[in-house]
């Protein structure tokens, strides 16, 4: 399946791009993260501490165990600092 993957803040800076389309068969967020980490060092670095990374599926906060079935857009970013 094709997934739009978007990155924000230091996750975006470490990976070096704001958005990309990924072809994957990953069943869960965690499996996708493992695939990305295996690709290149910059991904491995960005996801080296997943406790510092949050995930949203189709613009709704989720978690790393969540299934990717039917998901079109996945976002990775650090804990939010609004206000």
């Amino acid at each position: 399946m094709k997934l739009d993957v978007v990155y924000f803040a230091w996750v975006r800076e470490r990976i070096g791009l704001p958005r990309e389309t990924v072809e994957t068969e990953a069943a869960t967020v965690a499996e996708l993260v493992a695939e990305l980490r295996a690709r290149e060092d910059r991904y491995d670095l960005a996801f080296s501490d997943v406790s510092a990374v949050r995930v949203a599926l189709d613009q709704s906060l989720s978690d790393f165990d969540a299934p990717l079935t039917g998901v079109r857009e996945i976002a990775f970013f650090p804990p939010m600092t609004g206000g």
Partner: protein
């Protein structure tokens, strides 16, 4: 109920006037304004990044939940993004209710959730370089009191 995410500044007085214009059922209007603070004198800019689409949806959901919890006449959230200078306004919330307790509590609730559930990220640019502002554990803990 209004949510605005914008680059430009806002006029707090005008926003509050607009919120209560033409109505006589509001007895209490509480607002909070967040400003770019420079603790050290070294801050040149605060850059705010956000997730267009999710930001508006998250703020609207936070506001809707406040409306469900308190009997509000109306509420407003304005949050800016882009580069801001020390002293500039970052965001505001306002809660209008018949009585002050609901207005104070709802404004407090809006702020607590906006801090750690709205997809904004702050980067401080200073004379010695730039760094991302880290989320505080206190902010996450603050959600538990609601």
């Amino acid at each position: 109920m209004v949510v605005r995410v914008q680059l430009e500044d806002f006029d707090l007085g005008q926003e509050l006037d607009r919120l209560r214009a033409g109505r006589t059922d509001i007895g209490a209007l509480v607002s909070f304004t967040g400003l770019v603070r420079d603790d050290t004198g070294n801050l040149t800019a605060l850059e705010l990044e956000h997730y267009p689409g999710m930001t508006e949806a998250a703020l609207a959901e936070i506001e809707a939940e406040a409306q469900r919890r308190w009997a509000l006449n109306d509420s407003l959230i304005i949050h800016r993004y882009g580069p801001l200078k020390p002293g500039e306004q970052i965001m505001m919330v306002a809660a209008a209710a018949p009585h002050r307790k609901a207005a104070f509590e709802a404004a407090d609730y809006l702020m607590d959730f906006l801090k750690s559930r709205a997809p904004f990220w702050k980067k401080e640019h200073g004379v010695e370089g730039a760094k991302w502002v880290e989320a505080k554990e206190d902010d996450e803990a603050a959600l538990k009191r609601w």
